[in-house]
Symmetry: C2
DNA sequence: TAACACCGTGCGTTATAACGCACAAATTAA
DNA sequence: TTAATTTGTGCGTTATAACGCACGGTGTTA
C-alpha cells in the first residue's frame, strides 16, 4: 500500500475527529458507506476516484489536500542577527502556504537547502535589492518586483547592495 | 461521472500523446493494463487510488496535477481608473499561481465574484490600509500585514481610508 | 496483392471495491 | 445499577475495477 493510502487514512481520521463525526455521521455527509469509511481508515481498501471525490466534497476539502502528505513548515535560519524574520501567516494545511517578511541588512546572506519536490517560493521585494541564487542561476530583484522559483533546489538570498532590503517570501508546498 | 474523471482522462491522453506512447507502451511504463488505460481515457471506469498512483508515478507527474482541472487566470476589473493594477508574475500552469500589485486610491472599491472551489488569495499590504470583505466577514489589514482567505467566495477590496493603499495579491488556484 | 505488426476496443473472468446488515463493545441515559 | 443508544468491525452479497486475450481496423513492407 503506497503512502497515499496512509495519507488519506490519516486525513480522514483527523477531519472526522475535528468535526466530531462518527463513521455514521460521516457516511451521511459524504455519501460513502460507514463500512467503506472504516476500510479506508484502516487502509484495507483502495478507494476509487469516485469515492475519493465524494469524500473530498462531503468533507469540504480539496482532492489534492486529501491525497497529499503533510508538509513540514519551512524554517528560516534565525541565527543571523543581520536578518530579521517575521512570520506574517503561519503554515496552513489547507492552503499548504506560509508567508514571511524578511529584512536583510547590507551584506547579509541566507542559504536554504533544497525543499521537498514541488515546493516553490514567490518573493516580492518591497525596498532595496536582492540577489537570489537558485542552483546555478542568479537573479537580481529590485523594489516593486516579484520573482518565483523552484524551492526544491538549494537557494540563497544575498543583499550585496547598500542599505537594507525588505521582502516578502511566500512559500507554497505541494 | 464527476469532472475529475474527465480531467484524468484528458491528462492521460495528453501525456501519452506528448510522450508518443501507445496504450501498450503506456501500460509497460505505468503497470496499468492497456485495457484499463483505455477505460480511463474513455471515462468508462473509476480508477482506484492504487491505479491512480501507478499512473502518476509511471507518467512522472504528481497526483494533484493528474486530478486537477486546469485553472483559468483571474481577471481583475481594469475599468476602474482609481485602481491601478500591475501584473508582477503571470499565471503559471506549473505553480497555478499569479501575482499582482494593486494601488487603490482613496474611496476605491473592487469586487470579485466567487472563484472556483479551492482558490485562495494572500494579500500583503505594503502601504495604507485595506478593508477586505469575504462573504459576511470584514477584515482590515494595515501596512506590513498579510491576510489569506478563501477566494471561492465573493469578495471585495475597499479603501475607506485617507490616501492610497498599495498591496500585493497572490492568487493560488487549486 | 498478401503478410505482418501495431493499434484501440470489447468481452469474459478474476479480484476487489462498496455496500447493508448483524453484532459485540463502548458510551450514554434513566 | 440496568436499559437504551451509539460506535466500529466483520461478513456475505452485489457491483465494478482490472485484467488477459481475441479481434477488426490501419499502416507498412515485401
Amino acid at each position: 500500500m503506497q503512502n497515499n493510502h496512509h495519507t488519506v487514512a490519516r486525513r480522514l481520521k483527523q477531519l472526522r475527529k475535528d468535526k466530531g463525526w462518527s463513521l455514521t455521521a460521516c457516511a451521511e455527509h459524504t455519501g460513502v458507506s460507514k463500512a467503506m469509511l472504516g476500510q479506508i481508515e484502516r487502509q484495507e481498501s483502495s478507494p476509487t476516484l469516485a469515492t475519493l471525490w465524494k469524500l473530498a466534497t462531503g468533507l469540504n476539502v480539496s482532492l489534492s489536500w486529501l491525497l497529499n502528505d503533510e508538509q513540514q513548515p519551512m524554517t528560516f535560519d534565525f541565527a543571523h542577527e543581520r536578518i530579521q524574520v517575521e512570520r506574517l501567516l503561519a503554515f496552513d494545511p489547507q492552503t499548504q502556504q506560509e508567508v514571511y517578511k524578511l529584512c536583510m541588512a547590507e551584506g547579509a546572506k541566507s542559504h536554504s537547502d533544497a525543499h521537498r519536490h514541488g515546493t516553490f517560493e514567490m518573493l516580492y521585494v518591497q525596498s532595496g535589492r536582492l540577489d537570489i541564487v537558485v542552483g546555478e542561476t542568479q537573479v537580481t530583484i529590485k523594489a516593486g518586483d516579484a520573482y518565483r522559483f523552484d524551492a526544491a533546489q538549494p537557494h540563497s538570498y544575498i543583499n550585496r547592495y547598500s542599505g537594507k532590503t525588505e521582502f516578502v517570501a511566500v512559500i507554497n508546498y505541494r
